[in-house]
């Protein structure tokens, strides 16, 4: 009895630690308080500011477009890389796997800074082209796509590919119609991982982004240094919205995953 109570108590304490700050901030985003703890009335001003101020809109839009672009590029590179490596000789596969580990274990600060030194300082590439930013974030995200594809390839029924070839498919067709559908869950989860990594990234963006472009992370960090209360509280609204979006998508994925499980069973 005592043990049960302790277990529940501990779980809920840690949950409170993880969630209370976000929830309290979300609560205050619906008031016109400028600091947490102030008693003020209900107001949607923060949400109005968030969706009417140009720099906030372009910052959010830019972050999302960047994440989509990087995730798409990472998914294509990582998926093809994983399929190719899977059927390659041991030496090649080992090399790809080794190089794939580097961005994963490396600190993001170093990944971002090294691409900055190579492309911007050494090759004099213009930051304004977004190429260094996309290249560096893809270098971080593609290895995670690769890792989510590999287990699917191992589980795959390989005779189906051979059968497709025997039945007259060209290798390219067999790949698109047989292999890709079988590893689709891995591709989807790799794409989602790439999106969240890009959305969360601060360090790579700081070192490689164009000077006038901001992602959510770089914008928030600059805003905490500044003293504009209007911006500060508008960001509370953004964090409330992101929280709801993340909770929503996790619940949705869980429901659809359990439905699929039932269908199979």
């Amino acid at each position: 009895m005592m043990k049960k109570l302790l277990q529940h108590g501990f779980i809920y304490l840690v949950l409170a630690f993880l969630y209370l700050p976000i929830l309290i901030l979300a609560f205050y985003s619906f008031t016109d308080a400028t600091m947490i703890g102030q008693v003020r009335g209900f107001s949607l001003d923060n949400y109005v500011t968030l969706f009417t101020k140009d720099e906030l809109i372009s910052m959010m839009l830019g972050t999302v477009l960047l994440a989509l672009g990087v995730a798409l590029l990472s998914t294509i590179l990582g998926t093809l890389g994983a399929i190719g490596a899977f059927y390659s000789k041991k030496g090649i596969r080992g090399t790809v796997e080794l190089l794939n580990e580097i961005p994963i274990v490396n600190a993001d600060v170093v990944t971002g800074f090294s691409v900055c030194i190579f492309l911007i300082v050494m090759c004099h590439m213009d930051k304004g082209t977004f190429i260094p930013l996309v290249v560096a974030q893809t270098a971080l995200c593609a290895p995670f796509v690769y890792l989510s594809i590999t287990p699917r390839l191992k589980m795959m029924d390989h005779s189906l590919y051979e059968a497709a070839l025997d039945l007259g498919c060209k290798p390219r067709q067999a790949l698109m119609k047989v292999v890709i559908p079988q590893i689709r869950p891995g591709i989807v989860s790799g794409f989602m991982t790439a999106i969240t990594l890009s959305l969360d990234d601060y360090f790579i963006a700081t070192y490689t982004k164009p000077a006038t472009f901001d992602t959510i992370s770089t914008y928030v960090v600059n805003a905490t240094r500044g003293s504009q209360t209007e911006i500060k509280t508008a960001l509370w609204a953004l964090s409330a919205i992101l929280f709801i979006v993340v909770v929503g998508s996790v619940v949705y994925m869980n429901i659809s995953a359990s439905r699929k499980g039932e269908e199979r069973a």
Binding site: Q7, I11, L15, F17, L18, Y19, L20, P21, I22, I24, L25, Y28, M35, G37, L77, L80, G81, I83, G84, A85, Y87, I92, V96, L99, N100, E101, I102, V105, N106, A107, V109, V110, F113, S114, V115, C116, I117, F118, M122, A139, A142, P143, F144, L147, P171, R172, L175, T193, T196, D200, Y202, F203, I216, V220, V221, T224, S239, L242, V250, S258
Partner: protein, 265 residues
Amino acid sequence: MNKFHFDRKHLTIPYLLYLAVFVVVPLLVVIYYGFTDSEGHISFTNFVAFFCNTKTMGTLLYSLVLAIIVTIICLLLAYPVAYILAKGEYSRKHSFLMVFVLPMWINFTLRVTALKEILTLLEGNLAFHPFLNTVIGMVYDFLPFMIMPLYNALTKLDNSMIEASRDLGANGRQTFLKVILPLSVPGIISGITMVFLPAMTNYVVLDMVYNSTYIMGSLIGSYFSSYDWNNGSLISAVLLILIGLFTILTNRMAGDKDSRERGRV
């Protein structure tokens, strides 16, 4: 002349090239810049200066101490959570883990902003406890990354092992120390890698709670702002060496290949 034939294994070529050009080359360039002066001559001045300067050595020490404390606290909080979720009161509710890892998909700068507001309310002025606030901020940021690998290791652990140990007369403490803990070592190691390196380099958390002491990451950030590429590269090279040693050490201890789960969906 042989005509080029499409083969599945060729699919890995673009990815291999991408990793070589945008991961390996930038790191080599960083090492080169770290050991040259601003005129491009090979020089060990920066290297020697780093290890002979009490300020930079202090930074290294501070980051190590901070990272060790944050890692230990994360481990002490995450292990019971992972255990209760995997083997205790909640072991039948698999989706409950989602609640603990969900925060890692919310942008970390926004989450730390939320925590900062709460800490400001509680402490009045964040400047009084810079170290404490940094530790709280990092634990808050990294805890989900520690819970996930521990949970995965503990769910894989066969219940019959625990039952066997009890049947053979071990008490609860002995079972934990001699069976559960040793078998969860891969999860512990993988959790440590997820927390330790970010804790040495994620200087944004320090910035946001107004801790003006430098960690290794802040050094790169400040050299970047002053366009001192050589010194910035040297710090990156030092971090690379540390990360390399750390990875070799943890790989040897864990022997578990698929242990990287950052941002997995």
